[in-house]
């Protein structure tokens, strides 16, 4: 039966991650790093992955992982979303890990779990599970081609590359040319990957691995979006209780109260949808519908929450110093990542038999 609540262990995990983020991921630091050559926070990743062992949540214990489920990974992502943390958690510990689990690539799973390597699936971030993706050419035992929009490739040690022979190959990042693209979301940057005769090791069939990886990515992205929306709402409510105009706290004006109450309702609904997707992924039941529902709902809510936060903060919301812009950029990028809401609705039309004309 679906369990939509958080267990005590999950709440303890949340508290631990939140504490760590309070110490290692303040908004000013994220903003400063976003403009630098190295937008990812290596120190934070080390603390999360190495210190707390969170990179291996989905990896079985015998391979050095935690043998936990998507429910726990979802809680971690809620907290990372709340902090717009610039770490490759979703891309390496969820998406790349799921692809490797499908291929049973035990050695790489161990490396990812122990945080000795960061993995990136070399499929553009906007691709939804079950739809077409770009592949590279496999010729004489080497890979040739160019892939764009690869999230977190800049910090990856190993790329998981689909090729035109239907295989998924592990490529050492040092054998590829990785060029950062100028990204809308500064905290989850995308890059161009060029392979010019790079050696690759065949892991297995690309299609099932990519499908599984992108489905898990979409499903757990909803938890990141939940954390993001929750932060923007909480922060906006706090600000509107303090900020005064016309000799009254701005939060006392009905027009604004109703907008915040409406947003609260959306966030409450998003929590149920995100929990349902995480639970479905962990049990392997009703997964396709649960993920499609979560993504069709989550993206517009997260964007709406960030846009409302910006508007309700007034002028300060438009500044570079205030972190709202990080949340808006992440929310907007998330609304495209692993398939748009529209793509997921289209998938649902088939899944629940509500076909197009």
């Amino acid at each position: 039966m679906t369990d939509l609540l958080y267990s005590e262990e999950e709440e303890a995990l949340r508290a631990a991650v939140r504490d760590l983020l309070t110490d290692h991921c303040d908004a000013a630091g994220v903003i400063a790093r976003a403009e630098s050559e190295t937008p990812h926070s290596v120190a934070l990743w080390k603390a999360l992955a190495d210190g707390m062992g969170l990179a291996g949540l989905l990896v079985p214990e015998e391979l050095g992982g935690q043998g936990a489920t998507h429910r726990e990974a979802a809680v971690v992502l809620e907290e990372l979303g709340r902090a717009v943390a610039p770490v490759p958690y979703l891309t390496s510990a969820v998406v790349a890990t799921e692809a490797l689990l499908e291929c049973r690539a035990d050695d790489l799973l161990s490396r990812l779990a122990s945080a000795t390597a960061i993995g990136a699936l070399a499929v553009a971030l906007d691709v939804a599970a079950g739809t077409a993706y770009q592949v590279v050419r496999f010729e004489n035992g080497a890979l040739h081609g160019e892939l764009t929009g690869i999230a977190d490739a800049a910090v990856a040690d190993v790329l998981l590359v689909p090729a035109d022979d239907g295989g998924l190959y592990a490529v050492d990042a040092s054998a590829a040319t990785i060029t950062p693209q100028v990204s809308l979301d500064l905290t989850r940057p995308v890059a161009k990957v060029v392979l010019d005769g790079a050696p690759g090791r065949l892991l297995g069939d690309a299609e099932p691995a990519v499908r599984r990886a992108l489905r898990a990515g979409a499903g757990l992205l909803a938890s990141e979006q939940l954390g993001l929306a929750d932060w923007t709402l909480t922060e906006t409510v706090r600000y509107l209780k303090e900020r005064k105009q016309f000799n009254r706290p701005v939060g006392g004006f009905q027009a604004l109260k109703h907008r915040l109450a409406q947003l609260w309702l959306e966030v409450v609904n998003l929590r149920a949808a995100a929990r349902n997707a995480a639970d479905a992924l962990s049990r392997g039941e009703d997964t396709d519908v649960a993920v499609a529902v979560a993504q069709a709902y989550a993206a517009p809510v997260a964007v709406h929450a960030a846009e409302e936060a910006l508007q309700l903060h007034g002028g300060i919301g438009m500044t570079w110093e205030h972190p709202i812009h990080l949340y808006l950029k992440r929310a907007k990028a998330d609304s495209i990542a692993y398939g748009t809401a529209g793509a997921h609705r289209e998938a649902l039309a088939e899944l629940v038999d509500l076909r197009a004309p």
């Binding site: 409510v237 109703h258 149920a272 509500l354």
Partner: protein, 393 residues
């Protein structure tokens, strides 16, 4: 402590002593009440056993499997959902013993005499007066939007008993006998053509003081219990996927491909997702209640369903095209309950318009969420310290 095993045993005893197949419906329900299996969280002797509320499901599952009759909770919804918890919390022992059993069994239907023509969202502005004469109160005034008044035996009633104090302080709560002289129920025909609601005129109605609930002048606090129960009653339901209003429109979509358009498809999918998410939120709320950690989600459920019901039923009318131009029946009827599924899309569309007004308008509920859940500053009130009789009207 009463556990699931003990409740199951008692339920089977009840079924053995009163086999549903050969027992009269009302007799069975009375026996169930007397066995403490009506609402297990109520006290012993009042239809319960003081057990955790979450264990009711154990009893219900056993009884349903045995084909036992239920007490038609939809028809007696106001009594069950609003009058009963208020009587339990504020009633005297004598009142609890007199009213709760026939209420639960469904032998006596209840209605709620709260709203007035001049007191809807601002309910505490109500003007129906009651003046004490010895052991009785004499009531004069008018109530409105009263569901079930035409079939009700009893009513919960709030009236003004002290006009010299601010509006919230001068209200008293009574149990009113709907068969008493001076009570006139007039059907109020609605947008749907039927008269599900009524106007109720009270002229010189005499209510004995023994039917007062709570202290004189403390009726607003008593009414809060009623209103809170009214709003949370929606969240406890367990719905399957497509269990709500989205069900009929999804069915029509599947069965009538000739009606489909691309525009309607996009809107349908969006609403389907929202209905599924609202269902999950309701389920999450239910799981929280069972786990003994009620969340604030309940405050928002009514808002979500009101909007969804309106949008989905509106879409359904459009989907039906030429048929959407027709209506099933404008005959003035007086139904005992709202029947959403037994009527056509047009009826659902028109009736759903009331979902954002009844039981608290969307605007009032949004204020409640903003103030009580988010902690935002309350609306400024100019009538707070003014005696009711001095308020501008």
């Amino acid at each position: 402590m009463m556990d699931a095993e003990e409740l199951r045993r008692r339920t089977r005893e009840l079924l053995a002593a009163h086999p549903p197949a050969t027992t009269d419906r009302v007799d069975f329900l009375r026996a169930r009440f007397d066995a403490g299996l009506a609402w297990v969280h109520y006290p012993e002797g009042l239809g319960g056993l003081g057990a955790p509320r979450s264990l009711q499901a154990v009893v219900d599952t056993e009884l349903e499997a045995a084909g036992a009759p239920d007490n038609d909770p939809r028809r007696i919804g106001i009594g069950l959902g609003m009058a009963a918890p208020t009587i339990l919390q504020f009633g005297t022992e004598e009142q609890k013993r007199r009213y709760l059993r026939p209420l639960w069994v469904g032998e006596e239907v209840w209605c709620q005499l709260f709203s007035e023509p001049g007191a809807g969202s601002d309910l505490a502005a109500l003007g129906t007066r009651a003046v004490r004469e010895g052991d009785e109160w004499v009531v004069n005034g008018q109530k409105v939007w009263t569901s079930s008044a035409h079939i009700a035996r009893w009513a919960i009633l709030i009236v003004r008993t002290d006009p010299d104090v601010p509006k919230h302080a001068g209200i008293t709560y009574f149990i009113c006998d709907m068969t008493d002289p001076g009570i006139e129920v007039r059907p109020l025909r609605q947008i749907t053509g039927e008269a599900e609601f009524n106007e109720v005129f009270l002229t010189g109605v005499r209510i004995p003081d023994s039917r007062r609930l709570g202290e004189a002048g403390d009726g607003w606090r008593v009414a809060q219990t009623t209103l809170m129960n009214e709003r949370v009653s929606i969240g406890g339901m367990r719905l399957p996927r497509e269990g709500g209003m989205i069900g009929p429109v999804a069915k029509t979509w599947r069965e009538r491909p000739e009606l489909r358009t691309h525009d309607l498809h996009q809107r349908l999918l969006k609403l389907w997702v929202e209905a599924e998410v609202a269902r999950l939120t309701g389920e999450r709320l239910r799981q929280q209640l069972v786990a003994g950690q009620p969340g604030p989600e309940g405050s928002g459920m009514k808002l979500a369903f009101a909007r969804l019901n309106q949008e989905i039923s509106g879409l359904e009318v459009e989907l039906r095209g030429a048929e959407g131009l027709l209506y099933d029946d404008w005959t003035m009827r007086r139904p005992e309950l709202v029947d959403f599924t037994g009527r056509d899309a047009g009826y659902r569309y028109l009736r759903a318009k009331g979902n954002s007004i009844e039981g608290g308008t969307n605007e009032v509920l949004l204020n409640i969420v903003a103030e009580r859940v988010l902690g935002l500053p309350a609306e400024p009130r100019t009538d707070k310290d003014v005696a009711w009789k001095d308020l501008a009207r």
